[in-house]
């Protein structure tokens, strides 16, 4: 089965700048009407001298045919979940992105709607946003929600601002300066807390990979502003003592923040609102199937319990049973974290996804994500050199973390090498070296949209790689060879003398080389 051949396209594609030739055009700009030209005259003479651009920007001159070909060939040197076989990137939830959602999001009445149009002229969009917000509140058990944040980390920032504003409203911000974060947390958690002005306090995980209650009790104090937690945690294990965690944090006067990156394991099974979380974010580009776009756009709606509804960013989409509108009247609002109302076209895709799934389908999606993850975890955990550390015998949820430390010790083949070798089979690599509490970590999340045949095939691939590691380790360490390019010199990329992030810098580095 694994002899199935994969060769990624390789085009040796020049930079668009290298394709430019004086005189070529890629588009025709509309003409200025003669009468307008007569009345307005020469545009350059209108521009103040201090601002007139005398040298045109050095953009390439390329025909449309070449531009389209160039970017489509580049796309062929990229790997998407819809075009690839399997994208088991832990924590990123690379599930199939339904194509109908793309068609619906390209509706001209959405594409061409301006955010400052009178609300009376955009009732359709507002209806969708309100409906979506209501369903997300149902699923998460929260009482109100903002659709404004553009990403998960953006939602975390909002959540931390709300925690800050809440303590401020009670006159306690001066002393409540600490945000508690488990050592297994996503990097965005401590970074978001820091951006909101908190000091982070890291609590260690216990032997089962879950938050250590005793350590937590030690960590809380009247300086505690809150705790950020993802559940299931980054090891894919459900934090069963969550109600106790909630008690400890709340008794200390802190608030509980839910990082919804892993919510896709729990749809219809349990709700963060019931676990005691006061504020949550959810990643629509993970749990609700909207495409990641090579890094974005995403969407990270933030939900709160009723006592925090007044702190939400403005405006909030509301409905008075006659018309939909935007509510700017939130007395303790944290303000805004971006322009306008959110990544609307991402929100519309999530809305369509929920209609396609329904409540039962969403629950089924979570269950199958968990089933698929356990199905392969059990098999891969037995592969020579790999192991499932921590929480032995506990079921995983939608993802699990392997350790390749035995393999590394015995063969010199590290988690990174395994990941690179996986690419050679036309399968995307898992997340590596995260969470930090597992040595030589490989974090695997198959999602519910992968057929059984591919799950089985993935297990076989790992067996084959393991066998290779123990017999011909060099071959694994040299991977990948079936991708558009081999391993890259990342040190060179970051070195002060060779750092190059633009064409203009590239040209000047090449010139220097020429001189020397």
């Amino acid at each position: 089965m694994n002899s199935r051949v994969f060769r990624q396209s390789k085009w040796g594609e020049p930079l668009i700048f290298e394709m430019g030739v004086e005189g070529k055009v890629g588009s025709i700009v509309p003409k200025v009407e003669e009468e307008i030209r007569e009345i307005v005259g020469d545009v350059e003479s209108l521009v103040p001298e201090s601002l007139l651009r005398t040298n045109l920007p050095q953009l390439p001159m390329v025909s449309e045919a070449e531009v389209v070909g160039h970017f489509l060939r580049l796309s062929q040197m990229n790997y998407g979940v819809n075009s690839g076989r399997l994208y088991p990137l832990g924590s990123c939830t690379m599930k199939y992105n339904p194509v109908i959602n793309e068609r619906l999001a390209s509706n001209p009445r959405l594409l061409s709607a301006h955010p400052y149009q009178d609300v009376s002229t955009v009732q359709g969009i507002l209806e969708i946003l309100y409906q979506l917000k209501f369903w997300l509140m149902e699923l998460t058990g929260m009482d109100d929600m903002s659709l404004q944040p553009s990403a998960g980390a953006h939602g975390e920032f909002v959540g931390n601002l709300i925690i800050r504003a809440y303590h401020e409203s009670r006159g306690e911000l001066g002393k409540r300066t600490e945000m508690i974060v488990p050592d297994s947390a996503h990097g965005t958690n401590p970074a978001s807390a820091q951006m909101a002005g908190f000091d982070t306090v890291t609590v260690p995980s216990g032997g089962d990979g879950c938050i250590d209650l005793e350590a937590l009790k030690e960590a809380v104090s009247d300086r505690t502003a809150g705790l950020m937690l993802t559940n299931p945690n980054t090891l894919g294990i459900f934090e069963s003592s969550i109600s106790k965690v909630s008690e400890v944090v709340h008794e200390a006067g802190g608030l509980l923040y839910y990082d919804g990156a892993n919510f896709n394991a729990l749809l219809g099974k349990c709700r963060p609102g019931d676990m005691g979380f006061d504020i949550i974010h959810i990643n629509l580009h993970k749990t609700f199937s909207t495409p990641h776009g090579g890094g974005g756009p995403g969407s990270g709606p933030v939900g709160v319990k009723r006592f925090l509804a007044d702190f939400l960013p403005v405006p909030v989409v509301v409905y008075d049973s006659k018309r939909y509108s935007l509510d700017y009247n939130r007395s303790h609002t944290v303000g805004r974290v971006r322009g306008f109302y959110g990544n609307t076209s991402v929100l519309v895709r999530a809305f369509a996804y929920m209609l396609s799934m329904g409540f039962e389908g969403l629950r089924e999606a979570s269950e199958l994500a968990v089933l698929s993850s356990n199905y392969i975890a059990k098999k891969i955990g037995k592969v020579r050199g790999l192991s499932l550390p921590l929480a032995h015998g506990k079921p995983r949820k939608h993802e699990f973390v392997l350790s390749a430390s035995t393999m590394a010790k015995e063969t010199g083949v590290r988690a990174l090498d395994v990941a690179k070798k996986i690419l050679d089979y036309g399968i995307h690599a898992p997340t590596v070296y995260f969470p930090l509490i597992v040595e030589e970590a490989l974090m695997i999340e198959p999602t519910e949209t992968v057929p059984l045949e591919e799950l089985d095939s993935f297990v076989e691939v790992l067996k084959e790689i393991s066998a290779m590691a123990y017999t011909r380790p060099g071959e694994v360490k040299e991977a990948p060879k079936n991708t558009a390019i081999g391993r890259l010199d990342e040190v060179r990329a970051a070195h002060p003398k060779t750092f190059c992030s633009s064409w203009r810098r590239y040209k000047s580095l090449e010139e220097k080389k020429g001189d020397g």
């Binding site: 990624q8 668009i16 055009v25 890629g26 307005v40 201090s50 601002l51 953009l59 390329v62 531009v67 580049l74 040197m77 990229n78 790997y79 998407g80 793309e102 959405l110 061409s112 400052y116 002229t121 359709g124 553009s150 990403a151 980390a153 990097g187 965005t188 970074a191 951006m195 909101a196 459900f238 069963s240 109600s243 990641h292 090579g294 890094g295 756009p297 995403g298 303000g335 974290v337 971006r338 322009g339 306008f340 209609l355 799934m357 039962e360 389908g361 089933l371 079921p395 995307h428 992968v450 057929p451 558009a484 390019i485 081999g486 010199d489 750092f499 190059c500 992030s501 633009s502 203009r504």
Partner: protein, 461 residues
């Protein structure tokens, strides 16, 4: 669920059974045995479906039909603008290999996205006249918030000076980003005739506490800030940085901010091939000077050019990652992870299509038409436009005299299937009965003439 679902290949009962047997389990619920009883959802939540694809389409399309359409694009700007998006742009960003990929952390299999982002960075560098551009922020406003924090880190100072006529929403975002970092936002006044920043006021407010001076070009109200050289000198003279916020499209005609001394440039990339989408997704542009000490304080992802280790082939990877949250955690320059990469790819395709002359010509069309609209509107009795004597790019203020209410006039336009400008009186008390209109290449002479005629009619009502 009884029936298999098309998105769920393992939902067929026989397949599921096989997987469960393999795990020695009776039901999937056994995998949730660690959920405390008290936390389990027992009821069915109130979410409709699952629906057939045809029904999903019908529901979404029916809802969107409630959005009103107009005879031409709305005369609205203020941070999102109606511009034409070429078909080649839409085609590129709909490619599944781009659209459905994750952040290119595995460079060997993601060269396409990495090169496209490198080209985006390179194209923006040419526009803004600076050496380093990151691969995107959420939008102009959040990019401005990050710029204030970066300026404060670089200068170890805590005041950020902005114009009084800054976009009010952008100001609100800036404050949300600045406050937790202990940065004070200070506003400087303007000349009421020209809208230009009051340089004497600026001189008074710039001090050894100033981290940076920020200007918007064109400003929120559409006029250009002309005395950029003086402002740059004033900021640098006090050891502060100079930050410029731009509409990148205007840079086909207007000077690159890097050329007039800007250390950091932020802006909104939506006009570069991204649809308005009711305000999102947008594309936050973020550029800075190339000294590595400056770049190391930059937020966001940067794609760099390098070589493959073995064959020495040219290739691309994410670089300077030690600034980022997944490595540096609470000491990262920002928490940003997911960004607006696909919108950046759209911008790269757009700028490649336009080229240097196309961009210049497009600017000329925009300026010609917006200035034509101002001329024609200013001939209408009861209308004063623009309020500020300065060069305007695509937006301009339209003021109603003789006690006429903008709200009423606006509704008169809506009845004629024309969407007028954005009312400014709620944001600036000094701009009562004034609206911000926007004219771009997507408005023809006919559209403008129709607007003028309609306004005349409405004002006579």
């Amino acid at each position: 669920m009884n029936k298999p679902h098309p998105y769920l290949p393992t939902s067929a009962p026989e397949i599921k059974r096989k997987m469960l047997e393999d795990l020695d389990l009776e039901s999937v619920d056994d995998l949730y045995s660690d959920l405390p009883e008290t936390l389990r959802c027992t009821c069915s939540l109130n979410i409709p479906g699952p629906y057939a694809e045809s029904k999903v389409r019908e529901i979404v399309e029916k809802a969107l039909e409630k959005n009103e359409e107009f005879l031409c694009p709305p005369f609205l700007g203020g941070g999102v603008w109606p511009h034409y998006v070429p078909a080649a742009v839409d085609e590129t960003v709909q490619r599944a290999e781009f659209l459905t990929s994750y952040t290119p952390y595995q460079p060997e299999i993601s060269q396409g996205m990495l090169q496209a982002l490198f080209e985006y960075q390179s194209l923006i560098c040419e526009l803004v006249g600076l050496d380093v551009v990151n691969s995107s922020m959420y939008d102009w406003a959040s990019a401005l918030g990050e710029a204030a924090r970066m300026a404060s880190r670089l200068t170890r100072r805590n005041e950020f000076i902005v114009p009084a006529l800054i976009h009010p929403e952008r100001l609100q975002v800036l404050r949300a980003y600045a406050k937790p970092a202990g940065i004070k936002v200070v506003q400087v006044g303007y000349n009421s005739e020209t809208g230009q920043t009051d340089l004497e006021g600026l001189a008074e407010k710039t001090s050894k506490n100033t981290a940076a001076v920020y200007i918007e070009n064109p400003s929120y109200l559409g006029f250009a800030e002309e005395r950029v050289n003086e402002i740059s000198e004033m900021a640098h003279g006090k050891g502060a940085l100079f930050v410029a916020g731009v509409d990148p499209l205007s840079l086909g005609l207007l000077r690159a901010p890097g050329d007039y001394g800007a250390d950091i440039v932020v802006g909104e990339g939506q006009p570069l091939g991204n649809h308005m989408n009711y305000g999102g997704p947008l594309l936050g542009i973020f550029a800075c000077r190339g000294d590595l000490s400056v770049v190391k304080q930059m937020p966001g992802r940067i794609v760099g050019l390098t070589r493959s280790l073995k064959e020495g082939e040219r290739g691309f990877c994410i670089t300077l990652q030690t600034r980022e949250q997944h490595i540096r955690r609470e000491r990262a320059t920002s928490n940003i992870c997911t960004n607006e990469a696909l919108c950046a790819v759209a911008a790269a395709v757009y700028l490649s299509l336009l080229g240097p002359r196309g961009l210049r010509e497009l600017c000329e069309v925009i300026v010609s038409r917006s200035n034509y609209a101002m001329r024609r509107l200013s001939e209408v009795p009861g209308i004063r436009t623009p309020l500020f004597k300065a060069f305007h790019f695509k937006e301009f203020t339209v003021h109603l005299e003789n006690g006429r209410r903008y709200r009423e006039v606006h509704e008169g336009l809506l009845r004629r299937e024309i969407h007028g400008g954005k009312y400014l009186g709620a944001e600036f008390p000094q701009l009562r009965e004034t609206a911000l209109f926007c004219v771009t290449e997507s408005h023809s002479k006919e559209d403008i003439d129709r607007l003028v005629a309609a306004l005349k009619e409405v004002l006579l009502e």
